[in-house]
Symmetry: C2
Subunit: 238 residues, 2 copies
Amino acid sequence: MASGLRTLGSKAAAALDDELMSSGAFSIDQLMELAGLAVSQALYALSPPSKSPNVLIACGPGNNGGDGLVAARHLFHFGYKPTMYYPKQSKNELYQRLRTQLEQLKVSFTDDFPSAAQHTDYIIDAIFGFSFSGEVREPFPAVIQALAQSKKPVLAVDAPSSWNIEDGPPCDGPGKAYQPDALISLTAPKPLVKWFTGRHFVGGRFVGKEIAEKYGFDVPPYRGSDQIVEIGKNGEKL
Amino acid sequence: MASGLRTLGSKAAAALDDELMSSGAFSIDQLMELAGLAVSQALYALSPPSKSPNVLIACGPGNNGGDGLVAARHLFHFGYKPTMYYPKQSKNELYQRLRTQLEQLKVSFTDDFPSAAQHTDYIIDAIFGFSFSGEVREPFPAVIQALAQSKKPVLAVDAPSSWNIEDGPPCDGPGKAYQPDALISLTAPKPLVKWFTGRHFVGGRFVGKEIAEKYGFDVPPYRGSDQIVEIGKNGEKL
């Protein structure tokens, strides 16, 4: 579906991130904390812990995975029981700290995604984000396959993993048939939302109109002090 | 008023902060972002921008002031027009970045608090927090006096500035008659809430039951995915 909001392409999203962290003076800790909080609040809006207490969170090796690590911590505080699948752990100091924060809460980690996916109530796909292109490397093809075949609902972070940011679902491979139930776009929808048919949230409320105009996207129509907004086909608040 | 929740004394609050940033593996960027967001959401709950578009934020030289700098940025995104009073600026890299983030949004800074306080709709007191003790140093005595005499509503962050964290309002000086309209306690109420008579929020949702028990306070009764909760005299949600 089209989101009705102007989208932010892969290169523009990378340039915006660079600007926010250089002249914008943001730390990645700040941006990731707000992004991960938004992810957790979108899941709460989709399905509160009374309905889906167990959440399986698949984290990739980069920033998308970092958003997943932050989201898991907030979900724990909201009353969920998160389980992490995080097979390619970054040596970056921030990611190690985010992992430690989860360990302190005794959040469990699993090595077997397909099996864990059968025993959870909701799945968060935080594997690849706006910087993904090219091939899905091991061990993620089997994970994408499990996501594509999952009977459990899936919330994807910024992009359904394995989709091309501009061109949407791949022409072949496990991601071809992958259509998550929900998506949370961070900062702004990416062009791939044209191929996405589920419920659509936007989060990551840290950019004003001036920056949005510079990069050619729209500030999402947030309500009040909310950190997320669900949007319809024409960009309206739902 | 008593908050009905167990309180966190000055030394315990400092020890908890140390633990969160050492074995807890949090960065101050993360904690301050969540604290500042909670402050901004408490103000929104008290008075949305349609009612009080202009907000004057008095920031002290330490972490309480940093929470105010973060809150101002979020308030801008919520539709307020914040003005900053920040006379003793820290050379710490984080605080300089938080200031730059505001400058990028063209948030204005003032040197004249008493005058600005007459022309605003709401005031946030982010001068001193749980680590305050002893004397109010220049230029803040006149600011505390203006807060005490203000006809404009005031939201205090963690503590009404100049109050003793354990013993409440000072016996003399400008803070003796200072009673803000609202307070947001961060992580947990401090003992001074016994002398506070206004509306009381708690925010800073980053601690689980285990840590709360270790430090002898209660995890506040947050609702759903909210980052703040208003509490009554007996610790109940309002």
